[in-house]
Symmetry: C2
Subunit: 228 residues, 2 copies
DNA sequence: ACCTGAACACCGTTCAAGT
DNA sequence: ACCTGAACACCGTTCAAGT
């Protein structure tokens, strides 16, 4: 065929097909050859649009980040950082659990993908506006990410086998009911997420700088070390 | 050569060589052929000891779980669940950051690997002994796992590029200092972990059932739904 | 610029054959 | 039981050739 008058491919089409393949069959099922076949082209064509396969998967992950709702950081009272952080975390987790197979890629870090950066930017900006010192705002963005991606990645309950004999009481004295976890996977993971999120927000609320502690810490102003 | 009088391989030798390869060159560098070459055998020999490559990587991950210190759950005052949970989390994270390349495998879930199960068993048992209702103890084990593996997996700072021009202020109004994060990776990730761990423990302390709430919740005793 | 087929250097896994 | 080489059906990526 050689070069067609109108390009057969685009980054968007490739990312769309790759997303569908990841969702349907998992990360391991994505090969450049299979992906190209679904797009009706030959394997090497993809390399006109992406440098390599990893870049395609990064773009798939970033498309998920792009779906995370960030409006709560603009619209709400900037002083109510707790509610905004809560609603964002729930929205973020929902976006990830809709596409669980790409989470390992997404969890590799936010720093090089535009939508992931937009998320980091929004959280950091909102926390600073709410009165958190910049160094703490950086930490909050990071630790929330840890918890959210960790919960989307490592389904705790999914890891257990639905087999009463799998967990020998001699080896695991407290796991007598563990085989029941497999059945109630979603409920348990969601309960753990909610309990953890509440604990995190309660704990952060307790660390929120009052006027007194802010005055004690103040004076130096924002330094180079406060990031990002 | 065919069959030697003394086996050339063992599961332990294979796991050891695989661990070294993962640590030195990353997950992608592990192929059955390279691994076999380092062990002085041909590729298919591995299949006499493991069903497939995934099982080898699972065993590598489990070897890391086996290094997590669990003694705090036996030795300390069972009422001091907070200190035990803290020390365990620090020990767990330390084990993971020593072998960051295997964390994606480990994060897939604890349910099928013996050392991972031993960890889940110890945490669950200690929380129940400390007075947490079983359903909450399950959640605590899960949410702590989320946070710890999330923090080991997705280094927040590592994701940023050390390039002042990489973060356009038009796109990311609050990320003016983001390129500085790359330099101070370890410090930032550790600070975020510590801040988050403290927040989680503070928040859980606030949720710890007092005698009053325990009495209110009591009566039914432990039910099938409390897992695990 | 954007596609193609051919080619290179790999993969994971199966299997019959050897001791 | 435990290793081997050969073989199968794949990979990601490069590159010259085509329009």
């Amino acid at each position: 065929m050689a070069r067609p008058r109108k390009p057969l491919l685009s980054r968007e089409r490739i990312v769309g097909a790759a997303s569908a393949l990841v969702d349907a069959e998992g990360l391991d099922a994505v090969s450049t050859r299979r992906l190209a076949a679904q797009l009706g082209v030959s394997g090497p064509s993809l390399y006109n649009h992406f440098r390599n396969k990893d870049e395609i998967l990064d773009a798939v992950a970033d498309a998920v980040s792009a779906k995370v709702d960030l409006s709560m950081f603009d619209e709400s009272d900037p002083r109510d950082w707790r509610t905004a952080l809560h609603d964002w975390a729930v929205s973020y987790r929902a976006a990830l659990t809709e596409h669980p197979n790409i989470v390992p890629v997404l969890a590799r870090g936010p720093g090089r993908r535009p939508a992931g950066l937009r998320v980091a930017d929004a959280v950091f900006g909102a926390m600073v506006r709410a009165g958190w010192p910049p160094a703490q705002a950086t930490r909050i963005g990071a630790l929330m990410r840890y918890f959210i991606t960790g919960s989307a990645l490592g389904s705790f309950a999914r890891g257990f086998v639905d087999d009463e004999t799998a967990y020998d009481p001699g080896d695991y004295p407290h796991l007598g009911q563990a085989h029941l976890l497999a059945d109630r996977q979603e409920e348990i993971d969601e309960g753990a997420f909610e309990t953890g999120l509440r604990a995190l927000l309660d704990g952060l609320t307790a660390q929120y700088p009052t006027a007194a502690t802010a005055a004690r810490a103040g004076g130096a102003g924002r330094s180079r070390a406060d990031g990002p």
